[in-house]
């Protein structure tokens, strides 16, 4: 399909049409920050912010998921949760957040298939939005990604001031556009050039960079280095970095019940908490913060690339922005490099 143009004044119409037959999620503003919410009209949409505070992974890998329900006793029953097959759409997802699903897919669609994740992933169309002006801690380009990348979205919108340049990337995207085709116009070579210029400028404005060259073997030699103690000393063990991370995917499962009924639920968990690794015996293999902080870095930059051939970081910068004690992952990786070269 050819690339298209959407005049900005047509956006409300598009949102209205798409939300009539999809559950449509878009960035909204609430209490001074941005978050993805289900919307049904254009007025609720807020495209002022670059990144939502909580990443859109929460729409596909929900923070709380009921796996099945049960009732106790000899006549007790187990009722599995019906898989939700409703069609949904995430509008204005940023390329880095879209890339997070590429990292999460092998976890939930790999050796063990998670029906909840898979159905949501399959039934969700990702409409991306190019980042015209990246934020100060953005570093997606360190992962060969780009603020205007079409690689992990179904459709990509780029803001060209008075209009959007619309690239239709996948079959899923094509099918969606076909249903609302009459709102769009044909694009010209000029529009394509405009997008390219915007992306070039955007890439140039990204100042932060993470050096991933040879990182896995470097980390292999550094497990016992005092760097981990020094980094962890200021960590207060809050879970912000993991809860706001678009690629963190650890969860806990618990049975929550009252006298007559109960449910097995799955909730996000965080490796920053001591309870995360606490054994029933009382022993805790990661009893101190040093080993928890180290694990977070190793999981993203060593274990995950070894197992899945992809680094578990998108370069969105949320963990840097919201860490209350300035544990800066770029800085930590830089120190790994410096120490390895000594």
């Amino acid at each position: 399909m050819e690339n298209l143009i959407l005049q900005k004044d047509k956006l409300p119409e598009l949102i209205e049409k798409l939300s009539s037959n999809h559950v449509l999620y878009g960035p909204t503003e609430e209490n001074g920050f941005s978050l993805f919410k289900q919307i049904s009209n254009f007025d609720e949409l807020n495209l002022k912010y670059l990144l939502t505070r909580v990443p859109p992974k929460s729409l596909i890998f929900k923070q709380t998921e009921t796996l099945f329900k049960f009732t106790p006793g000899r006549k007790g029953t187990v009722t599995s949760t019906e898989i939700n097959e409703e069609k949904s759409l995430i509008f204005a997802i940023r390329p880095c957040d879209a890339r997070s699903f590429k990292i999460l897919d092998p976890v939930f669609e790999g050796n063990f298939e998670d029906p909840f994740y898979i159905s949501k992933r399959k039934n969700t169309v990702l409409i991306g939005l190019t980042c015209n002006s990246p934020e100060r801690n953005c570093f997606c380009t360190s992962f060969d990604d780009s603020p205007g990348s079409t690689e992990n979205v179904d459709i990509l919108f780029t803001d060209l001031d008075d209009r959007f340049y619309v690239e239709v990337v996948t079959e899923k995207g094509k099918n969606l556009i076909k249903s609302v085709e009459d709102i769009f116009e044909k694009s010209t070579k000029n529009d394509e050039d405009s997008k390219r210029n915007i992306v070039t400028k955007s890439v140039e404005s990204i100042t932060r960079k993470m050096d991933l060259d040879g990182l896995v073997p470097k980390l292999d030699k550094m497990f016992d280095h005092e760097l981990w103690h020094n980094t962890a000393q200021k960590c207060i063990g809050c879970g912000i970095c993991t809860y706001l991370c678009p690629t963190c995917h650890c969860f806990d499962m618990q049975d929550e019940s009252s006298l007559r009924e109960g449910a097995r639920i799955r909730v996000w968990d965080s490796c920053m908490y001591p309870e995360y690794t606490q054994h029933a015996s009382g022993h805790n293999p990661r009893a101190i913060r040093m080993s928890r902080v180290r694990n977070r870095v190793y999981h993203k930059f060593s274990y995950f690339p070894k197992n899945e051939d992809i680094t578990a970081c998108t370069g969105c910068g949320r963990c840097i922005d919201y860490c209350p004690v300035n544990i800066d992952i770029i800085d930590v990786i830089e120190e790994v490099g410096v120490i390895s070269n000594e």
């Binding site: 909580v54 801690n137 207060i236 063990g237 809050c238 639920i265 909730v267 908490y273 300035n326 800066d328």
Partner: protein
């Protein structure tokens, strides 16, 4: 303004003492307006120490956070003191912990800093969203002078001042071993913002207000981890048998958590604002804390963390204690 050289010299003096393990303070962060907690084990490292209005973080949580592994055979516990750079609210937290016997006064060397209020990180980053570095930041006659790329920005203090500072009762450290510079003049206290929601609105409106905030909570427990007074070895929220609060993230459980957190700090919260400033989803936790602080003050004439010889509020009983609030 705190004289940086005085501070560094004092930190050097403390860190070189034989009975001191390390000194906790502040250094410049890696990017933008961030400040990083710093741990000086040597006099050389002390050169990195700073204090400016961005040094908001309450460092009083750190002495209790120290990573401790079981001792090896014949290994002796390192019982040397910990040095700590502390503002008024930080020292109030230390006093409160000392009252509760969480720390011993003699295990600390407190380098007190008179503080005329700190900058709210969320406010300053909203004002300068894309700045990656600043060179200096100073307070002068009701203004903050911020130098960025050679350009000086003058911003009225009230635009950037953290909300909890306007009702601060201890701008000067309440305990210290050494004080850097002169004490500051206390200022006219203002009531914390939005307390009218809790005081004047009816129950329905109050619930609507808090429902919206608690609904957003992602239960990361950053409020708990950042709080210097939330240092229970085992938090009620983590207990599984019995499980008081379910891990499901929904309005009911989120409300239970937030109310429980606020009540466990009744008569203990020192008003440093850490919980609210770390909250990733902007829940105005200080409104709850401040309202309870006000009640405690009015009913029991007690303010937390002001005198290390005093007994904690819930550690005392007088037969004539007011009890009108008991239903």
């Amino acid at each position: 303004m705190v004289d940086q050289q005085l501070l560094i010299d004092e930190v050097k003096k403390v860190v070189s003492r034989d009975d001191v393990k390390y000194v906790i303070g502040y250094k410049k962060g890696t990017t933008g307006f961030t400040i990083s907690p710093a741990f000086a084990y040597s006099t050389e490292y002390a050169d990195k120490f700073i204090f400016n209005p961005l040094c908001k973080k309450n460092l009083a949580a750190y002495p209790l956070l120290e990573d401790k592994l079981p001792l090896k055979r014949e290994e002796k516990e390192d019982k040397r003191k910990i040095g700590i750079v502390a503002k008024g609210c930080d020292t109030r937290a230390l006093v409160q912990i000392i009252q509760e016997k969480g720390l011993n006064r003699e295990d600390l060397v407190i380098i007190g800093i008179p503080c005329s209020g700190v900058i709210d990180y969320k406010k300053i980053t909203a004002m300068f969203p894309n700045e990656t570095a600043y060179s200096t930041i100073e307070e002068e006659q009701g203004f903050y002078k911020i130098t960025i790329n050679g350009k000086v920005h003058e911003i009225a203090k009230e635009e950037l001042l953290a909300d909890h500072c306007t009702s601060c009762i201890a701008p000067n450290p309440v305990i210290y071993d050494v004080l850097i510079g002169e004490e500051v003049e206390p200022w006219d206290l203002e009531e914390h913002k939005n307390l009218d929601v809790l005081e004047e609105k009816d129950v329905g409106e109050r619930w609507e207000y808090w429902k919206e905030h608690f609904d957003r909570c992602i239960r990361c427990y950053a409020c708990r981890e950042a709080c210097p007074l939330c240092y229970c070895k085992e938090c009620m929220a983590d207990l599984l048998n019995p499980q008081w609060i379910r891990r499901s993230v929904n309005l009911s459980e989120n409300t239970a958590w937030n109310i429980m957190r606020a009540y466990h700090l009744a008569g203990r919260c020192v008003g440093c604002g850490e919980c609210e400033s770390v909250c990733p989803v902007n829940i105005p936790l200080m409104e709850l804390n401040k309202e309870i602080e006000k009640d405690v003050k009015n009913i029991f004439e007690y303010s937390a963390g002001m005198d290390s010889e005093e007994k904690p509020l819930f550690g005392t009983f007088r037969p004539d204690d007011p009890e009108e609030f008991i239903m």
